[in-house]
Symmetry: D2
Subunit: 443 residues, 4 copies
């Protein structure tokens, strides 16, 4: 039996059981011989809890996949075939600050958008670039499957500053949207393909196909009479239905995260309520996670518990297993990934990362030509790409001016003055994880 | 003496004396034989007041330029060499609504930006396209010099929907910025050239030259220690100084109008105060104009009164005369105009209108190659271009969905819901001027 | 059983038996209910011979596919699902002139390249555009599968001047090259995928994959030691081995037709010999065809005769059946087709036709992003695209100047003077088929 | 008086008197204080002859410009303000080989095109890159004004491989064409502006303006009835009139050098005649030069002799002086130079060198937006750019495969086989000047 070694950085994550389930389910086509779950010292306890559950799951499945737990990243990476990353620098505590500090200045606090997303990027990108440096030495042929958020920026940073091309950024939002479309059109998931245009957490569906035939017209019509629940499957975003005029005007369906941009006022009001109740999303998730980990400890448990699906990141790990299998088997199927545009969106820079339908081959994802970004969508997509590019550069260089300018330009930040203030507070709060910003602010 | 006929549509405007002064000053190089001031029936009284002043000014100057007043646009346009437009559909009363109605929904109310700018475009574009149709028949060789706001969108609409290429859009903001730079660098205006990147009322200065040598470094340094008054010469925008971080982060100086985007919160608060005092900008301007017109009536006045310079549009008409003279004389000098990009900004659509340094020739403006729009500026410029394109299309087709989507996407509008509401109220308020939106809203 | 109607224009072609065999072989997945073979009055006899063979083949196969023979194109097209074109305006006699007349002026005479290719395009494009007009009325949902040469130009013309988007141009050269690669790499055809860059009859293979892994390095090495026969499977082009330096310098394998451009001198010398022996390719093919048709008449024949494979267009019809089946079944497999670039080649016009690896869906081909055309290949590919664009325009407008300029710019034509002369002679020879060039030459 | 130091590398050239005359004529606006004429040991005698004439000319003019003769390039470059290059590696003897060796293989032999142009580039580019390295250290603020051929490739190489941006490539062909146009339109040179599209020695005039008004229509009409002499002012190219069809088909006037591409057959026949008479262009020029140098030695001569105008490079040095004065004085006038495209040709790479109308400022040339390269011109211009890019890379890396592939792709080379042979012969002939190609050919 040929070696097939998979290394999961951030192996102590509550998502791991889904990942393990994914590998078990696909063992017939993806015969993983070694699964290494790696974490850092601070995560040791969680790693053991989740690692032991993983071992019980594999044993119950009766497959010869070995599960290793390790705090030694270098040892783990040696000769890996695939590396997945699901780490969280600063853990949920840091996410709580990413959400609460912006809210304390009266602006949206969110894990992957605006000021919160910027600081998650600042903490995460240097760590991922370190992993990439290790990979270049220890497993240069391996693929890096990143589903650490903000996944688009992390992928952009790896390509632009890590000079490493075997990376794919993954997100469950397109998968969720595909399921929503299947439900609306009353077909099975497998029959649906989408044309998506944009970036991670900031894309629009501009066409949808059932067995290859466009059904966009039907979808647009359905949105005329749709109630809230049917518009999305996301757990973590308050749903406010798009106006009929907006959908008709765009001739496209925005991904759920766009609610922060098109209902900024309402989302902010909702977040402020949660803020005052000390129950912002991160605080809520922390409760869920605590519960999950006590579940995971039960020796009798040897499968992924149902409760995990309520966690918010459903399908994430499944998407990762799917992608790995398609690369491994040169399947040539279509998946929605973060990869270099390369002309697929003809009026967007060729060398930048987009989230796009791609054919998955042994050589990685090959994006399908998607034509022009329609006029109506150019502005908001370019604005977020500008933000991503500036944040990536600041994450690597520690340029505070660039970071503040990026915030001022961000549509969720209504004032240069607030940008300066919220940046200072977040920097102070997270400074332990941000060595790149070591110098005094010079004004 | 060869005929040189200039036609000014909206001739009854309070700006006309500056225009007339401009022609008088340049008579040695631009020997205008006929100046036709044209207006509509409703503007007849103003036209007579301002037209008589114009005649007195010409007489006092002792030049053989004939001034004609006319309510018959077609008669006036016959065989014109240059046509300038400075009309205001619905007059200042309409502008008051453009400002007050958005404010009544808690969003910025401004003549050329956001919801107010959209409706000014909706009222103006069809009228300008009518004028263009007349020009094609009556003076197909004439140049249309548009300084009716929103000048960028009007120019875009003429090119895209009017299929008329002899049009230049003009604005006084770059001229004002050039004067500010000259003052900061302690040189004369003539020695200064700028590289500007962006759109009408939405551009950045990315370089500045004194006698051809870049002095951008000095300018960036000066901004470190600058007080409010020195940042701009604009009369109509409350100045809030940019943060030092923003300027360093952008490595560019935003044009004053960007204050609405980078200090949205503060500008809105300021406008709300004026709103409550019934003294929004349009209301204030109306007072100034009433005063100007009583001045204009004095028979003893035969020059442009000083007070006009306080009006807010200083240099507008002078810029127009300058442009006309440069085209007429094939001067080849550099002016900042709204014209088709044609690759000058290499990473921006080739066929869209930008505000850019151009060499002015008998064949019109030829933009100077300006290279790539820097990453940091791509987002906001593209966002406004998306808005402009959508507004132009809606202005011509009467597509309400497109209009509402454009508002939702606009950074000054914080919610799709508000977009729907403010659109309905403005449409109702202006419906007399908006025949293109005749159909019922379909939701 | 659902209707599935296929219409083949030029049904009397000697290729038809291969096409029929293709449909029989795929009946399980592509249950054709009606196959209409259409031809014109002049082709009636051939249509009957070949049509009767088709009927015998279907009967022998025992499938319920009905074969219709018709001279009434409109009747045939009614409600078609797929239309294939394999017509030859002026028949082989015209091709003989396309080859001999250029040779009589001392330049390459070839069916799809240079002066000969230009006149084949001139005769063919108007006929195809007529068919497209019929299709718009009679079967607007049908796909046009064109394998009439010059296939690239015909596809370009349909898209640009026919305003019809459901068209795919097909060629057997990439299929042949794929087979050659499989042989060289000692794997089966199915395991091979190629990256091709360029145009119909003018492309380069820049990468090759076996089960998704790049093997280009091995291929380039093999070319260091390769003899002539192994370089191609083409029957109609004299093989001259590329110099080792050329292959190393290009880092790409030229398609066989490029021999006319990279060995112009030698190919011309070879053609001149055949010219003097009255045995140019078209004359040779005419002999083969006569033989095939006498074979086809034998009542005992009820399968495709082996001799057809010697004809030169092997795999052509098979490729067409493959394509039709993939569209019909939304297969999503990769095929090499002529379709709109849409950014797949990032440094080539987005709106022009290229020959490229595409995913075949029910909505037609979606090209895979292929990145930049390498510097070395940009010139020759752009030169042929210029030729194609000029020829298409001249074919539609009858602009003789454009046609002559296109010839002068063509690398196979060494002089403007010869361009003028060869154009006049070919126009005179083919004038019966070229109504678009009716006006006198004006010099 | 402020220092203004100009250094001319290749100061012993026969062109120098024209350059000196140019500086004398412009002394009032360009007060050169030091003119350094630099040459290498082998050119010492010529340098003295021409240098003494220069001194006599300056003295006769009575201006305080000091002329220095030097064999020490580094000493000369110290603190230079402008550096001009007019060197010829291997002198005229090398050019004779560049012309005769290709002809001996039956292909065009020309100084700046095809195989000859390639080898001139191979000899010249490394020397120019050396000069650039010196400049970076000794006079980093100086401008390099290159008029050493092939001027386009040299400029491309300096930008791409020398990482030096203060370089302008200069050629007299556009100047000559402008004079021809002035004569045809019966106006003075100063009134004429052109729009040119393409590369050094490979451009087309697509528009021409008299005092800013397009007169292209008149020019196209004149070409209908034009005899040979009126088509060009070039001394070194046999004029064959373009066919009326070609001019009408292109809607553009090719520059004279395009005769090698559009009359390859006829130009080759003409060159073969001269080859057999041992009187190819280089041989003829050598005779002229010998004569010029004996003239230059006459002590009584203190001005540029008339005979120099017969030399073939007329206006070259004058163009250089003009350019230097416009940079020095920030004139802002339009000149035709080789500089980075930067979007001026919208459908051509932004980062490559083109020959284009540019506004000349203290910051160097700023190209004027010229729009799309018309379809008809895209192929031939891209082909030559491909050649230039490959030659530059081979000149720097010594990659022989790339060089041979570039030749095979060149329209003047009719066969890969000839490409291999002519490359070997030229390499052998010039090996003393080609250290970069030191390794054995590996086949």
């Amino acid at each position: 039996m040929e070696k097939l070694k998979i290394v999961t950085i951030g192996g102590g994550s509550s998502y791991t059981p889904e990942l393990v389930e994914g590998f078990i389910k696909r063992y017939h086509e993806l015969p993983v011989t070694e699964l290494w779950l790696v974490d850092i010292e601070e995560g040791k306890e969680k790693l053991e809890i989740v690692g032991n559950l993983a071992k019980r799951m594999v044993e119950a499945a009766g497959i010869p996949m070995k599960v290793f737990l390790s705090l030694d990243r270098k040892e783990a990476l040696k000769d890996a075939d695939f590396v997945t990353t699901q780490l969280r620098v600063g853990q949920l505590q840091a996410r709580i600050l990413d959400e609460r500090i912006p809210l304390s200045h009266g602006i949206i606090g969110q894990e992957t958008n605006g000021a919160g997303g910027m600081f998650k990027a600042f903490r995460t990108i240097p760590v991922i670039l370190d992993i990439v440096e290790d990979m270049k030495k220890l497993c240069p042929e391996a693929w890096l499957i990143n589903f650490t958020n903000p996944a688009g920026m992390v992928t952009e940073a790896v390509l632009r500053y890590g000079s490493f091309h075997k990376v794919v950024g993954l997100c469950n939002v397109p998968v969720g949207m595909k399921k929503t479309m299947a439900k609306q059109l009353e077909v099975s998931d497998e029959e649906v393909d989408m044309k998506i245009v944009g970036l991670n957490h900031h894309f629009f569906m501009t066409d949808v196909f059932v067995n290859g035939k466009s059904r966009m017209k039907d979808v647009l019509e359905k949105y005329e009479h749709m109630n809230e629940e049917d518009q999305t499957e996301m757990k973590n975003i308050m749903v406010i239905p798009w106006s009929k005029e907006l959908i008709r005007g765009l001739q496209a369906i925005p991904c759920p995260y766009l609610s922060y941009y098109f209902f900024t006022k309402e989302q902010l009001e909702h977040q402020m309520e949660l803020f005052q109740k000390n129950n912002v999303r991160a605080e809520f998730v922390k409760g869920v996670e605590d519960e999950l980990f006590s579940l995971y400890q039960e020796e009798s448990l040897h499968e992924k518990p149902k409760q995990l699906e309520q966690r918010g990141g459903a399908f994430y790990s499944d998407a990762a297993c799917n992608l790995i299998s398609s690369i491994y088997n040169n399947k040539g199927d279509i998946q929605y990934v973060n990869t270099v545009n390369k002309g697929a969106l003809t009026n967007f820079p060729v060398d930048t990362v987009v989230e796009i339908a791609s054919k998955i081959t042994k050589d990685g994802p090959v994006p399908l030509s998607a034509g022009e970004i329609p006029v109506a969508l150019q502005g908001t997509i370019t604005t977020i790409k500008t933000f991503e590019r500036m944040v990536c550069e600041a994450a690597v260089t520690g340029n505070k001016d660039l970071a503040i300018a990026a915030l001022t330009l961000n549509p969720l930040v209504p004032s240069d003055k607030i940008a300066v203030e919220v940046f200072r507070d977040l920097l102070e709060a997270h400074k332990a994880y941000l060595p790149q910003f070591k110098e005094e602010m010079n004004s």
